[in-house]
Symmetry: C2
Subunit: 607 residues, 2 copies
């Protein structure tokens, strides 16, 4: 995989261009490579060997503490020590001031080695959010202690009755005393409510945990404001701290209500947390103390500020699981003798068996995995590069990057979540019976990966976001921009032998996608258009991946002389995607374009 990352970053995305920007001027190709080397090494030494262990030894609660395997403590320590928690922060606060693209690629190694142990995704997201929206004191006290690895962070959005529908958040935040606005850590509230699916919500990896919590401040009538407009954001430490970031010794009123026992991704604690149940009573009063972050009612806006990176993070996790399964099944296929070439069947029964990688159907399963995992990797890195462009590019270019990200993020999140699970299933299939046992790693990849279609916005939510908002906003400006980029690749590929056919196929697909988008909205009735949002998301995703593969193919073709086998492999995966995958979009687009009513007209009593 490293070779592929180097090619994608160095050759395809031309990451070295970023070195010319003031923010990255202290870096060089060498420092980028060192970061990748370090992460690859830590992942190999501290993560990969323990991936099965953390699946078997789930977090457990002894009544007082959540106990994790020692390996998880060691992995966290090594991760924190690597400096990756503040990879993209300014150097003057101890950060590495790295491009996000390099950070994302480097974090990939941990996801591949053990997504279940996990890196610092939530902690970094939490701290980044505080850097963007917090007060100086909140940054100093909370964010900096997260970047250093002293404390971990969480994101507390969902509740048992409010998962996809965040507007139904019921956690209440009431001003804590008359002087509540005078607290040096920010306006002080008391929170009561329950938060569900909170990853790393309770553990002893660090001396404290910094929860970022969505809650509603009651209006003048004492009732929470309905809808998302009523939601505010609070920083709620597990243990109370003073303005110097020291623990006061007092426990905040946040208590573990239960551990969730998952199908996979078992190394990461997932919790139900009770806020303000009175198990602890800071200052002698019930209610978890939380400090307002940003303005009241702008909680979701603050959260969404970080959403693109969070969703790229999920997409990257899914991608890396796909990659892990691909590599494991490739190794197996090279070594497992079974059967004989199809032409000789029966004729040479006494000939030795051949490694299964020689069978066309096994090559098909490996090529599919390669096209899914490496294609997804290219997409995630492309989106990461857009994040850098948004933050450090020229104004026009930054605006364009931001708009592209709006449209591509639902794909970056959803596509690997769906197709890299399929890749993992194919990895199991390559290993046959062995793949179905826990003696081999592939079944765990498949289980771990199944979460990615659910968290950070389900597939259905991504689909509504794409067809309901992203492709129609600003008169379709985002969609036009994507189409422009796709057409640029098509035009280049039309000039190149062997890629011209793919270019034509992509052009036709793009035309069909555009027509289907228009047709979906032709009646102007949202429920008619959106009933087929998921097939639309799937078709859009496959088109984007075909475009990415064609663009990667162009880069590969130029470099054939440098390493024939490596680049032929990329071109063959590209070809696989065009021959076997892109044609799938017609079936999806057909229901979109016809505003097929079969699903929405189905009635409960008919099931």
């Amino acid at each position: 995989m490293r070779r592929t990352i180097d090619f994608l970053l160095g050759d395809w995305l031309g990451i070295a261009e970023l070195l010319e920007r003031p923010r990255f001027a202290d870096h060089s190709r060498e420092t980028f490579a060192q970061v990748l080397d370090t992460c690859e090494r830590i992942a190999r030494e501290r993560y990969a060997p323990f991936n099965r262990l953390v699946d078997t030894e789930e977090p457990r609660f002894d009544g007082e503490r959540v106990i994790l395997p020692q390996a998880t403590h060691a992995a966290w320590a090594a991760y924190a020590e690597s400096g990756m928690l503040s990879a993209s922060q300014d150097q003057n606060i101890g950060g590495m001031q790295l491009p996000y693209t390099v950070e994302a690629a480097a974090n990939g190694f941990f996801g591949k080695a053990s997504v279940s142990i996990g890196g610092g995704l939530l902690t970094v997201g939490n701290a980044n959010l505080l850097m963007a929206h917090g007060t100086a004191a909140q940054k100093e006290v909370f964010a900096l202690n997260e970047f250093s690895g002293r404390w971990c962070g969480t994101m507390c959005l969902s509740e048992p009755q409010a998962g996809s529908s965040l507007s139904d958040v019921a956690t209440r935040a009431e001003p804590d005393g008359a002087d509540f606005e005078a607290d040096p850590l920010g306006p002080r509230f008391r929170l009561t409510g329950n938060k569900m699916w909170i990853s790393a919500g309770e553990h002893e990896l660090t001396e404290n945990i910094v929860h970022l919590v969505l809650a509603k401040i009651p209006g003048p009538d004492g009732k929470p404001v309905p809808g998302t407009k009523g939601i505010s954001l609070f920083v709620v430490p597990k243990k109370l701290v003073n303005t110097r970031g020291e623990l006061t010794g007092e426990r905040n009123d946040v208590a573990l209500a239960g551990l969730n026992h998952k199908c996979g991704w078992r190394g990461t604690t997932n919790t139900l947390l009770n806020f303000g149940e009175g198990k602890f009573t800071p200052g002698g009063k019930r209610g978890a103390i939380g400090y307002l972050v940003g303005r009241p009612g702008e909680g979701l806006r603050c959260m969404f500020h970080m959403m693109n990176e969070a969703r790229i993070g999920v997409g990257m996790a899914a991608t890396m699981l796909g990659m892990a399964g691909y590599e494991a099944s490739l190794d197996y296929a090279k070594q497992r003798p079974q059967g004989r070439p199809v032409t000789e069947g029966g004729k040479k029964a006494d000939a030795p068996q051949v490694p299964i990688i020689q069978h066309a159907d096994v090559k098909r399963m490996l090529l599919a995995q390669k096209s899914y995992a490496e294609g997804a990797l290219a997409l995630e890195l492309y989106c990461a590069r857009l994040v850098d462009e948004q933050h450090t590019g020229e104004a026009d270019s930054a605006r364009e990057a931001a708009l592209l990200l709006e449209v591509l993020t639902p794909i970056a999140k959803s596509w690997p979540s769906e197709w890299c699970v399929e890749a993992n299933s194919l990895a199991i299939q390559v290993l046959g019976g062995y793949g179905y046992t826990r003696d081999f790693p592939v079944e765990q990849y498949w289980r771990d990966n199944r979460l990615n279609m659910i968290h950070e916005g389900t597939h259905g939510i991504q689909a509504l976001d794409l067809l309901g908002r992203k492709v129609v906003m600003d008169g379709g400006a985002g969609l036009k921009l994507v189409a422009g980029r796709v057409n640029r690749t098509i035009e280049r590929a039309l000039q190149v032998d062997h890629l011209a056919d793919h270019a034509s196929a992509l052009a036709a697909a793009l035309q069909r996608l555009g027509a289907a988008t228009k047709a979906a909205w032709a009646s102007g009735v949202p429920e008619e258009a959106l009933a087929n949002a998921t097939p639309y998301l799937q078709a859009f995703g496959h088109l984007v991946l075909a475009w990415i593969w064609l663009d990667v193919g162009l880069a590969a073709r130029e470099r054939l002389a440098a390493d024939d086998a490596f680049f032929r492999g990329k071109l063959q995966a590209c070809r696989y995607f065009f021959d076997y995958e892109l044609p799938k979009i017609d079936a999806w687009l057909a229901v979109v374009a016809s505003r097929n009513p079969t699903c929405r007209e189905m009635r409960e009593e008919w099931f």
Copy 2:
């Protein structure tokens, strides 16, 4: 589900016709219904409540015995007591003389309640095989004691180095002494070798276990004959028995070498067995005693005699897991409030949330599951009905049924194995985060179901069987026969409002499938045709299911007046399949018809 089974058996397949045949003359609609009632009840009481338990408390070996939960013992006892082990046997040996169609449907309840506890599939298959190929003594001693539930049976085919490639079986069988042919239980051999993936290979559910083992008898040169021609079949009891079926007190030389720890289906013990390692030495000699069944070298032929039913059994297991997930997610969707109708988003934020079944995308996920699981159920019962026709129909009709089964069996095995896993994934998705936890049953269904694409011939093997043998044999006679049946349904549906469009779509699909089949073989080069055998299998499967749905739709349409909601549901699932699923075949057939070389031309060093 019961309602659907009654409709499919009673109305669609007209199972009552079988009552006119002499073999089933003692039966009535009522006795058929009683069998279904009994199995449904036992499954509900003895299986379903323990499905999670057997997932958690895996079989373990204490050094001497394999320990299973008490619930598994109770379930086996109830199953044996039901008489289902000899459901299709003659009444004069204590059987129920039931049609296989009724037996298969009744067994479905156990698969749905707990596929992992399992019913008697292997024991029945083993005993049936002995009834077909064994000597009178072998039937009396082994088969009858399996039908009564006194002993269990296994099928020992695979070895660690020989999974899909059975011709590489290395277990040896050598004549046991000069008088080896004189043993009243059959020619006596000594077996040495290892057998892998043996389900129920060791346990204490019954006092003995009857292994049916494939092994090779060395030729005159002392070497095993290469290829499948050298394979013979042996009955190898775990504990030796005399001709009266009494245990002699001596243990045969078969020893547990290891338990396999699976991703799912954990309630069923899966083992590596050593034959003849000398742990036990019956008669003071090393080597497991086995009695030849059928003629030397005809082991595989004997096994394949039972293959259609075994593969229908796997397809039915996959189907029932799909059905279980569908029902669980349907229940959840009716009760889980989340979100509001898409048109009112933002407008009525203070309106109460609606049950998620009201969202079009959730209906889509439920309709997909319904179309997969109920479609698969119809297919399995159709194939089961063909088994009855083959065994009890008029000569011409029996021949035709046998030929249809040859072509449809790879689909009956593979299609539910693939699409009912997808159904289970959709069930998880409907439940969201909850679906990913072990507090709900759907993640287990998904894990359990993943095995079905692997055992009893992998997907790839089914595909080679279909495109490499079944559709080309006898000049394509089998394919023509299937096409004839499909066309009959098309002709009827063309006359019916609302179904005529589906009929036209199916006719076009059938034409494309025929053309692709021809094109695949146009060059006459097996590796060109077979490189895309799996996409062919997928396309063929979807076409068969579309046909099944159209035919079921015709039956539903005629009965609308009887129960509008129930039959509208069938018609809507049919419509879903035609609108969302059948169009997928174009992408699969395109690579088949063009003999796409991308996979077979891929080289190991390019990966």
